[in-house]
Subunit: 216 residues, 2 copies
């Protein structure tokens, strides 16, 4: 019975990793679509989000069935509850990538990103990729050291967001209010994306150590 | 055993209702603080958010303990999993009210809301109150009809958000980019607040009927 249970836990992790790969692809493609005014790529991100939702839905059903069949207690139960929360975070990360792709689509054929923000949006995209890559390691190897690192990666993302907002509000800003609002939303989506990665890392940390991750 | 279980379910609902009352208070006070440049009220919302987080934390612990002790299957298990998700939605609604209060605090002693947006922000605040009030009825009485109504209340919120954004982007807009960005974020917080209420209503609908709520 125990062995089957641990195989089942592994299959949940496999699905989390599959979702993570899709989410990583989504945020990277959404960033490219936004920076390069690439409508086709934006449409692909938007369409692929359904697959992330589909995996989450099936995985959650399976997880609840495992709970019902295995009647886990203590740490095994906590691990399953945590799995449900992780899949919800991953699904939301997919939504946020989707929102970024929709900004690109909404402004097409115009550029969504004004020239002076290309750099910071590029950096936010790279930061998001790095975070999701590290999150995959945390999920696969239950790596609590990497889990702690994600918190400081997220601090970087917050700094990038502040830099972007400061550019919008500076007296040099000579783009439209529309561009400012679009870019403020884009920065929010990256920032929230990163927050969900932090949440996932903290859940793994808590499941593995029984303690809450210290604040960075 | 069954009776204790149903008492436990009722005590979970009681905590959800306690959180709902706090969340309602938070969104109403945050709206007032934003509209009336009321720093003290903004600070109160920000401080009170900790109480919402505290209740959620204790409730989730209790819910997981009930799962471990009662070993529920089928619909009882689904009800408990759904409870965990509902408390997460409520906690997030508290965060979003908190974000609105922080906008008021950030701009104090200046007004955060330009004159031409006072009306739409007032309406978004009222829509949020109505939604959370209806959500309380859905939670308390497992009222699936009201659960369906929330979806159209949310459509109204989306229309209000579009109206607000259209005002920011109109050629008449003669306020700062800062005010536009602030108000775009505020509208996003109200819209997300309402989305979480829809989620909660849909979870109750699903638990009660075994079917997903039809889309409005």
């Amino acid at each position: 019975m125990r062995d089957i249970f641990h195989e089942e836990l592994e299959s949940i992790t496999a699905d989390h990793l599959k979702m993570t790969a899709l989410v990583r692809d989504a945020i990277e493609s959404a960033t490219k679509a936004l920076l390069n005014t690439d409508l086709q790529l934006a449409e692909k991100v938007i369409a692929d989000d359904l697959e992330i939702d589909r995996i989450q839905h099936a995985l959650d059903e399976r997880t609840i069935n495992i709970m019902a069949r295995q009647q886990p207690v203590a740490s095994d139960l906590r691990r399953l509850v945590s799995s449900l929360r992780i899949s919800a975070d991953l699904e939301r990360m997919g939504d946020l990538a989707n929102h970024i792709a929709k900004l690109a689509r909404m402004r097409y054929p115009n550029k969504a990103v004004p020239a002076e923000l290309l750099e910071v949006i590029t950096e936010m995209g790279s930061a998001a990729s790095r975070i999701v890559e590290k999150m995959a390691v945390v999920l696969e190897f239950r790596d609590t050291n990497r889990a702690l690192e994600i918190d400081s990666d997220d601090d970087e993302m917050d700094i990038l967001q502040r830099r972007l907002i400061a550019t919008l509000l500076s007296s040099d800003w000579n783009n439209s209010v529309e561009a400012a609002v679009d870019m403020a939303f884009a920065s929010r989506y990256y920032e929230r994306f990163s927050d969900h990665a932090v949440s996932i890392a903290q859940r793994v940390y808590y499941t593995e150590t029984g303690e809450f991750a210290p604040k960075s």
